[in-house]
Symmetry: D2
Subunit: 432 residues, 4 copies
Amino acid sequence: MRRNWVFSDLLPRIFERSGNVARHTDRRSMEELCQALLSEEGEVSGYALAATLLDRYRTADEQTRLGFFKYMNTHLDVDADRVADLAKIYADDPSPEAFRLLCEVSEPGRQELLRRLNQPVGATRDLVEMRVDLLRFVKDHPELARTDFDFVHLLKSWFNRGFLVLEQITWATPARILDKIVAYEAVHQISDLEDLRRRLAPSDRRCFAFFHPSMPEEPLIFVELALMNGIPDSIEDLLADDRPAIAPETADTAAFYSISNCQKGLAGISFGNLLIKQVVAELSMQLPGLQTFVTLSPIPRLSDWLHQQEQDPELGPVARDALDGRVSDDTVGRLAARYLLSAKRSDGLPFDPVARFHLGNGAEIHDIHSHADLSEKGKQQSLSTMVNYKYDLAATEQNHEDFVLNGKIAATKTVKAMALGSLDSTQKGKVA
Amino acid sequence: MRRNWVFSDLLPRIFERSGNVARHTDRRSMEELCQALLSEEGEVSGYALAATLLDRYRTADEQTRLGFFKYMNTHLDVDADRVADLAKIYADDPSPEAFRLLCEVSEPGRQELLRRLNQPVGATRDLVEMRVDLLRFVKDHPELARTDFDFVHLLKSWFNRGFLVLEQITWATPARILDKIVAYEAVHQISDLEDLRRRLAPSDRRCFAFFHPSMPEEPLIFVELALMNGIPDSIEDLLADDRPAIAPETADTAAFYSISNCQKGLAGISFGNLLIKQVVAELSMQLPGLQTFVTLSPIPRLSDWLHQQEQDPELGPVARDALDGRVSDDTVGRLAARYLLSAKRSDGLPFDPVARFHLGNGAEIHDIHSHADLSEKGKQQSLSTMVNYKYDLAATEQNHEDFVLNGKIAATKTVKAMALGSLDSTQKGKVA
Amino acid sequence: MRRNWVFSDLLPRIFERSGNVARHTDRRSMEELCQALLSEEGEVSGYALAATLLDRYRTADEQTRLGFFKYMNTHLDVDADRVADLAKIYADDPSPEAFRLLCEVSEPGRQELLRRLNQPVGATRDLVEMRVDLLRFVKDHPELARTDFDFVHLLKSWFNRGFLVLEQITWATPARILDKIVAYEAVHQISDLEDLRRRLAPSDRRCFAFFHPSMPEEPLIFVELALMNGIPDSIEDLLADDRPAIAPETADTAAFYSISNCQKGLAGISFGNLLIKQVVAELSMQLPGLQTFVTLSPIPRLSDWLHQQEQDPELGPVARDALDGRVSDDTVGRLAARYLLSAKRSDGLPFDPVARFHLGNGAEIHDIHSHADLSEKGKQQSLSTMVNYKYDLAATEQNHEDFVLNGKIAATKTVKAMALGSLDSTQKGKVA
Amino acid sequence: MRRNWVFSDLLPRIFERSGNVARHTDRRSMEELCQALLSEEGEVSGYALAATLLDRYRTADEQTRLGFFKYMNTHLDVDADRVADLAKIYADDPSPEAFRLLCEVSEPGRQELLRRLNQPVGATRDLVEMRVDLLRFVKDHPELARTDFDFVHLLKSWFNRGFLVLEQITWATPARILDKIVAYEAVHQISDLEDLRRRLAPSDRRCFAFFHPSMPEEPLIFVELALMNGIPDSIEDLLADDRPAIAPETADTAAFYSISNCQKGLAGISFGNLLIKQVVAELSMQLPGLQTFVTLSPIPRLSDWLHQQEQDPELGPVARDALDGRVSDDTVGRLAARYLLSAKRSDGLPFDPVARFHLGNGAEIHDIHSHADLSEKGKQQSLSTMVNYKYDLAATEQNHEDFVLNGKIAATKTVKAMALGSLDSTQKGKVA
């Protein structure tokens, strides 16, 4: 049942007609407008007040914006003493009324402010943009992390999985949306629409994105993939311009080669896990011939890790040789395998961010390929090595649990064997 | 830019294919499933766990459902002692980390549970339905009001104005949606689709509803109105079958004659205020000839109030006569005016719920009509009297503020004069 | 790729703004307007002239309408002498120019008139309506059949299969379209929307219609069917209110129980053949479990034929007994089988119109059921007997060819055996 | 009322499932398939036969295609002798039956063939493409003009104005459609999507196209225009990249600067007249501030005409000087005015094709600008001169009639005065 909903329409004009004058002539400061929005006036005129405040923010300079966040951080914080008092009262007598009072005081006023700001059409997007500023300010003003905590709290609630919609991005998608895909691609850069055409138009390419209904022109995250025969071992081959497209129904493998978060303002709110699984499921239905769902992923911190090993008695020599290009491809692959299987952060999670993401999703390290990414970035970050993470929906839950509870990393025998292989740092030199 | 979003599609099937077995064979209790959903398992398999839990709830009996709410109320409550401790720590040192810890403990675990439940397609609707049960249970188990407080908290956030979409309901609307309008009409009953046709098909009738994108088949609230010349003084005339329809562009008045909340599970979350204003604005644009936006509203508690006055030395006699039908129409009107302008609840707000709603929205009492609603319900509740509340967008804000801050009720001179008119209880008898 | 096309929008208003005055004040007669539309004026102002003429027709009385058709029939006919002359010239010298001239004179002017009338939004529908009048007039004015011939010629071209669109009609279809389904149902009457609900809402019911893009609110033809297990032998069972709906994917049979042409003005332009086949194909895809596509059809002229046989020496007695209800069900079935297999019109085609349609489409007579339609109409027309025609896409072409070229009627052994069975007219009496 | 129609869907697959084998293994020649399609077999299997024939044509070489057209031209022509006979019979007795027979023989069989070919989804487009070939063949095989005449006859009927839909093309239009706009732009070339963005994305630019529902991805004709203040006198200014966009509601002029027919196969079937008028009307509604609708058009044959005048005693010298760039801008403008007002073809219509189009639509020559198109093409064709044609809906009908019946060209006093101005061929030299 398709519907004639209009997400971005008359509402702004409505209030402009009746309230526009006020909106542009309202002389109150942003702080006063915040107070008004939180007061009785906000009950009936919240929409107009929110629109005025968002307008004001949009045209404000850095200093004013910072001031706005500081105001929220300080004046719309919780009153910790009252919280303590009411918590004690509630501990003594857990009545609904005591609970209500405790909840009210323990939620900072800025949460209600943000909810009331989120009334005009387009407000959600404005608030996400606002957080981009906030994240920047937090660096120099770490106390603003309190306010950011409330932003995250609300955004998580608003961008709850149940509210997201999946859309397949194709060459029939409105150009205005395609512009966003070009802009947000974070893994393998897209230069313009003509370049994007090569990722969307061929019959063996697919792209999917999550959207939120109140930001209909803004993809939240998208994933690009190639339908193939066999598992890809090189990004150049996969993206080659002159590669012949295959018939989708003959493909046995779907290779995810790029996943990009689009909204900086939604940092920390994760959509990738479910996006991949949903796309796996969607494609399984559309193309029953698909047997394997696998990524072709970068290993962005392999070189960093090798540098860290340079003084290691055992690995040091081979790490240095590898960084200097003096080892065989096999050795590079073995180093990468060792890195992916054993390099950890202080919290016990994998050192590699991409590995953290896919392993955390329950994927398995399927294979490692040297000479797989010959771009400058690829050479520098990972000595041109790439990795396939495999998604098998039947195994993800167990993999995830083993990963989280026991720190166990799922990997194929091939990869495990690579990690145990000898690291003959001079092999390449010898051969040469 | 219209989009091909599908709100209710493959997702359930996806997880049924991979996880269905688990879903129907998962032997864990609802409580165990809740714990799983809140644990690590919930991170990666949250969608499937949520679907399982919602399924389980849907097929559970009353006792199990009550048990589920009690579990949430007790086991997923805040730990007030820890809140008190952390509040003190934060009072001493308002660091972001202290803030984060305080926030985490001061939010009951059931809020996170509800957010995680809200992942599968259709979950939002399930949670709204769940609250219908909860509201029923609260009557006998008042302590559950704590849990209800959290439901309201989340629902307010999810049904934030910025997420709602307005839709005009017409005779071209899908029949499945029209069925809902028939079912939810609360003011002037609609018997079936053929009856609804009379409210939608004529050129001088309009209906608008708010929807939430994640409940696309469920109107949240809708309003019906008639385009007219002049302000209506009788619901029978307005709804008469044989009335000739007028050309919309010749109308000078839009008369709201019915506004119905559709979702019991959203009780306490108000949409009416903005719906009316948005419809006023929408119609102002569509039909520039419209000068007046006015309701024709019931006065549902007039008779109740008159009964309460029976022992009043001044009003008692005329109240009794009025209830017995022994006063003139003029007197009934004057009693209604007096009632609307002066009858208050203990909290100082109007005794009449419809008056509370419209006056709280910033409307003005425009006129009062006796002999306006001759239905059985109309006779019993309000001695057949009805009232026009007028919406003038330029005045609503001031009216609202006067109403809330000073208890001032906006009313025309006519209505004020009626309220001051003499209450000659025997006039009717005399005339007759 | 969904598009924002609007089929019925601004165009009328456009020309009303600039040309409206002319439209309602144009004092020329319909004949003069026709001449203007066919002249130079029609080149640039054709849209407005056509709108004026269609308006004029819509408000004209019977006599004026008849006059309009007579004008077309007489004054916009071919000039047969010129045709003969130009045909001879072309026969002598088949030059393109000679061809062009011959074509121009051999097409009656009214065809160009109709094409020029078909410019405003909604004109196609007006012309289809116009033909309804024309068909009525032809009865008393048979010479108008010439003009009707040209209507049919153009309508066939405009309603070419390539232009039709299939739409599934469901309970989510706009109510305005559903009204049309109620109105046009021709086989088993539908009283109102609530009645239609029973044919659309259950999970095991389907309805499909053809539309033409320039008449988007007017179904051209629609078919209703039931998903079942096994082949139906009674319309009462099939339509029973209290019948439990089955899960669509468990059905093995799709039973077409009603097919209705909607537009009298398109009489003689057949859509039914392809509609059934397209629906068969559509359902085969949607529900791979379906094995059998079969109708449950009336035998509308069985009684008529039996009456015609009353004087027949062989069949007369049993025909009379059957009409009087004095034969067994078996005998009624045998008579029906004999009728369907052998009763012919003078042109050699089946006497029964429904049989002509389905056999012409390449279907096979699958089975015959007595006591299958107990409605008053069913009793009178067919002694309550019904028939299943079976559509097997692999066989339709051969069946059709045998039918058309050799007059061969496809039927199962069962039906052929019934037709050869003994017609014991007194059996029922005996039993009783 | 929006609908879920699918124009390009299951149908091909349907018949491929059941009939595909036949389709690719059918060994009959194209001629035999034509005969089959016109025979009984075509009645029931027309869809599959047509699909097979269109497939066959698509993969055929030039010679086979030519053979197909020759077959149609010769074997599916009218039988002129029979036409002559039946015309005489009808002249004697104009009975409907005689009329029917005459009509049947006077329509060439290829028309029915084309109608039957037009059944599969996508067939209309195939037939339009087919005519592109035919037009090419006609050059060397002029007798094929007979077949082309029938193509035009049917295409005019199918692309009747009543069937076209207007669509605004914006940056939110599917990229696949935008590709077509890039490809079909005929006046001021567009290099790629990024270039097109400059014509669509700015707030003061508009583009509208006509589509036919059965070719939903193929624009038929489109027009581009700029919202401006004042009438443009230079295409470079109008298209300048760095020009600031104006707010649409402040514009007083809409300047059409490009109109492109998209389908060679629809040559001779005119849509431009109505497209411009419909866009004028559409924009008048959207932007009531627009006062003037005007083109900025090339004068493509000015140089050709000047060359033709070189030997003219009066104009020769100045024509030569003008072609050599030795006259003042004023003189070039005067020559252009003279050309537009007086240069005629042998049939009395304007020599300039763009002038023929706009004057034939009822527009007026409003102004002429030298130095208006500095592109190479502009310099060569028109000495960089351009012209504004003005569309005033209230005047177009009269203008058109004067133009067609009396050969009168509507022009402003300014333009008329220019045409009468002195042609001082040496002015420029003098000044220099």
